[in-house]
């Protein structure tokens, strides 16, 4: 470590910073990336020049990328050894979030598809009225 030349600006976002400039710079880079991804999201949703069915998937990918930017540059999740607990907790949280969301959407979509329209229900309401 000591052989390398010390550069106050060459510090990862989560590391302790000595210089005010380098610490602010990591937030500014994060803000720039987040603004860029947000802008692209709104452009992708508005433009007509992209293949329609792919737009929703692209938006989800952009959103996940932006969450990654927020985690690294604002919440300082790093790969450093002192961050292992935070990363493990995050991984478990992400697992639960995906289980709940994909599981619910998958099951409820198939449930709705298999039920089909329910004429007897509408009839019941007609009779009651």
């Amino acid at each position: 470590m000591s052989e390398r030349e010390y550069d106050p600006l060459d510090v990862a976002p989560g590391e302790p910073h000595d210089s005010l400039l380098s610490e602010s710079l990591s937030y500014i880079v994060g803000l720039g990336l987040a603004l860029l991804l947000t802008g692209v999201s709104f452009w992708v949703a508005s433009t007509e020049s992209l293949w329609g069915p792919g737009v929703a998937v692209g938006l989800v990918v952009l959103a996940i990328a932006q969450m990654g930017v927020h985690l690294v540059f604002f919440l300082h999740i790093t790969t450093g050894p002192d961050n292992t607990n935070n990363v493990l907790a995050l991984a478990f949280g992400v697992l639960i979030v995906f289980l709940v969301m994909i599981g619910t959407i998958w099951i409820m979509y198939h449930l709705a598809a298999n039920m089909g329209p329910m004429p007897e229900m509408t009839n019941l309401q007609m009779q009651r009225g």
Binding site: S41, F42, F74, A89, V97, M101
Partner: protein
């Protein structure tokens, strides 16, 4: 290394090998408390995932009422998104100032953070009252119930965050940075505020952008 050398070198936090916590002993409170708060934030995100799943399931159950395409205004959402993102960034600047024990700039950045949060909340409330005024309140359809629950829950979190920012500013004003827990509280506040922005990214993508495709 003997048992007396390690504390002198700053390698331990006062624990010994008898505690079963390893040779370094338990971590200091400045590490443990934000970690516990991070666990809370993650469980809060799990709570939101259930609301997102509900919304995704019910987003087409409009019961003949207004659909997401007719209700949502992308320009307003873009302003809300910008305000919350800038607010998150400025909150980071407040932490940078606080780490350097600069009271004036910490207070200024915290105030800007809160002000941008208020802008976000006002736009959201305007949107809600506008929708309810048009007869698109939460009781109109399952889609609108899910929408108001999801977005309203996020708005409630932002409101709680604003109260917290105000409390922090008052505490900083009277106690300054002297007690060691002030920095810990500021760290927890910043984790909470950044997490709210992460949830908003999911909301503006899934609810507002995909809902108005």
């Amino acid at each position: 290394m003997s048992a007396t050398e390690a504390p002198a070198l700053g390698l331990t936090h006062g624990g010994s090998e008898d505690t079963g916590l390893g040779s370094r002993g338990p971590e200091s409170k400045s590490i443990v408390v934000p970690y516990g708060f991070w666990l809370f934030v993650l469980s809060d995100i799990v709570l939101f995932s259930a609301l997102f799943a509900t919304y995704a399931t019910l987003s087409h159950a409009t019961d003949g009422g207004p659909t997401s395409n007719q209700l949502f205004d992308r320009t307003l959402v873009a302003i809300e998104t910008g305000a919350l993102l800038l607010s998150s960034f400025v909150c980071g600047l407040a932490i940078i100032a606080a780490k350097r024990r600069n009271l004036l700039w910490t207070q200024i950045w915290l105030f800007v953070t809160g002000a941008l949060g208020v802008v976000f909340l006002c736009i959201e409330l305007y949107e809600f009252t506008h929708m309810i005024g048009e007869g698109a309140g939460p009781q109109r359809s399952a889609f609108l119930s899910a929408f108001f629950t999801l977005v309203g829950c996020h708005g409630a979190h932002v409101t709680a965050g604003l109260l917290w920012i105000g409390t922090m500013m008052a505490q900083l004003w009277s106690k300054r940075f002297d007690p060691p827990h002030m920095m810990r509280r500021l760290m927890c506040l910043s984790i909470f505020w950044h997490a709210l922005d992460i949830i908003w990214v999911a909301i503006f993508t899934l609810v507002y952008l995909i809902g108005t495709l």
